[in-house]
Symmetry: C2
Subunit: 241 residues, 2 copies
Amino acid sequence: MSTSSAAPRREDGTEAAEVRPPMREALVAAAFRLFIERGYEQTTVDDIVALAGVGRRSFFRYFPSKEDVVFPDHERCLADMEAFLARSPEDADPVRRVCDAARLVHRMYAENPAFSVQRYHLTKKVPGLRAYELSVVWRYERALAAYLRGRLGGRPDGILRADVIAAAVVAAHNNALRSWLRSDGRDDAGAAVDHALAYAQSVFGDVAVPPRGVAPEDVVVVAARRGTPLWQVLREIETAL
Amino acid sequence: MSTSSAAPRREDGTEAAEVRPPMREALVAAAFRLFIERGYEQTTVDDIVALAGVGRRSFFRYFPSKEDVVFPDHERCLADMEAFLARSPEDADPVRRVCDAARLVHRMYAENPAFSVQRYHLTKKVPGLRAYELSVVWRYERALAAYLRGRLGGRPDGILRADVIAAAVVAAHNNALRSWLRSDGRDDAGAAVDHALAYAQSVFGDVAVPPRGVAPEDVVVVAARRGTPLWQVLREIETAL
DNA sequence: TGATCCGTGGCACTGGGTGCAGCGAACGGA
DNA sequence: TCCGTTCGCTGCACCCAGTGCCACGGATCA
């Protein structure tokens, strides 16, 4: 896909003013200025390249489609997430791990609050951008699900559970992220995301907890009548454990 | 959006050969023949209308985009789902209700197994179609979430729970649906969907179950040591209850 | 019979996206 | 210093999806 947008670094210590092509950033800036001014669909690629002062052909060298200029950093973030999951410890709690992976996305949004809020208002209005965003989110979800499948694949319904957990974690994350974006970036983003992910984690529980020895005070007994709603029982146990 | 693709019916009993325009079906048939033959992207709208023997302008009269011809019945199915949720009884278990709503989608796929399998193979290969399918699935998910928000909105984290449950139910449904599609429609679709949805339902529990009287044999006792993975305890209870 | 409505088709146009070829600057070797 | 290569950028021509507009023709109705 598009080239990495990682920060420009030099092997030697020299700062080397902008080795990374400024054209990419210039295109993003020009595009967003016009998108905000007159709307996404009312802005043509020709308008963007004219404002940025570059050739039309160069636009499509940096962004495979007009929609990609709206999400210039997701490719890198997705790669980060996959790398993060790939280097997971063997004994890590899988659910917790995917929650942490989801936090990477939130962190990317939080790095540029103003930009993220602008983009949110764009994607909210333009169906085409919403569809594009869905395909991006879907790739995050598949990355999480792939990791979970690897971890839960052996158990009964492991694949099913992996898919459901991934979807739930993404939904919880997006719920918090969206309410933060709706607040124009004023709310405490981290707290809301933590709360939402904690809920998701609590629903699916922890998988790897050291058992140790069994002392009497470590045993919990729960009694319930048949037909009791499972979630009620679950809540009792959750607090007890 | 596009007009309903319900079967042509007459108020009087007469069969009245095809009052519903056959053009729509002709376009779908021509499109799929060419899509299967030479691929989606290698087929132009001109090719389709030439094979169907109609004007190019008419294609876009029936389908707002080339992608829509691949999903000719989702608009109707989405309307069915919204109607189904709208006429839910007040005291219905919300989670069970959205599971039943999800079954409507599966039923639509199962009505035309051959067609569904063909479409599956198309969407698997073509990124554009996959993106379109995601936006369709997203609309289903939002319909479920909207219903759940109405039912759970009052409770703490009701909105969050609604979003997460909707995502989980959709993921469970899609998991079963996809494995059925991968089997070329040979597996028992209904059983797999039921199993997957039962899992989703068990995770989030039933909300409304009549308690009735308590007989000794109706009481279940579960003992667990502190630190036991919640999912293990949950599984025990699930089988016991 | 004439007016109207509606489904249809033809046509021209916009705009996203691509393949290709040329051009100039930077780089490396003789 | 000069030359050949490479690479990034540009312009051009082209394809195709999607739209607005209008004209045609059949069916319906006054």
